[in-house]
Symmetry: C2
Subunit: 110 residues, 2 copies
């Protein structure tokens, strides 16, 4: 048996606020400037991506994603400073969690 430890972590208040999926979604919004393109990159419906953004935006004191409607490109989305703050922090947290899992996997009984 080639045993390893796996797991997931997330930030929550009353509801789930931030996790690996939302981290990846923000990364794609940052790269594409569009919730629609970010959703496509994650093979997720636009509605699902929009709901995730709304969940973060309504829970946080300041929105994590800012959306513009209209204009030549038909609107766009940017990750705000508040969004970058959580993105950066969660990346570090996830790295420390993976290090914890690796270290603990090495200490598993035979």
């Amino acid at each position: 048996m080639n045993l390893r430890i796996n797991g997931r972590i997330w930030l929550e208040a009353d509801d789930r606020f931030f996790g690996v999926g939302r981290m990846e979604l923000l990364e794609h919004i940052q790269q594409t400037g569009s919730i629609n393109q970010a959703a496509k990159a994650m093979k997720m419906s636009y509605k699902r991506a929009w709901d995730l953004v709304q969940s973060m935006n309504t829970q946080a004191a300041t929105p994590l994603v800012s959306t513009q409607t209209g204009g030549e490109k038909g609107g766009g989305a940017i990750v705000t400073e508040e969004g970058l703050k959580y993105l950066d922090h969660f990346r570090g947290l996830q790295e420390r969690f993976l290090a914890f899992l690796e270290q603990e996997t090495r200490q598993l009984p035979d």
Copy 2:
């Protein structure tokens, strides 16, 4: 927003092998000497509890739960030494994980 970090960890090989639910199931089997009573204590069907036990027993080199059929009490179940080994290790691992979550929760950005 009263933010905290939550999460789950588990041991896996090809399939899931051991996690919080299985830890609690083994604890109840240890206390009651019966898969049926352990299932009831966890408000779980007997089939579900039996399947979880079978999943652990067939993946491990040595069974984690030993069952006896027949006899005055109509059979029973005990947690083997192998089972106790994983139970003890996972308890410690889960404690260290909860400590990790607490420490990281204290370091969350405002």
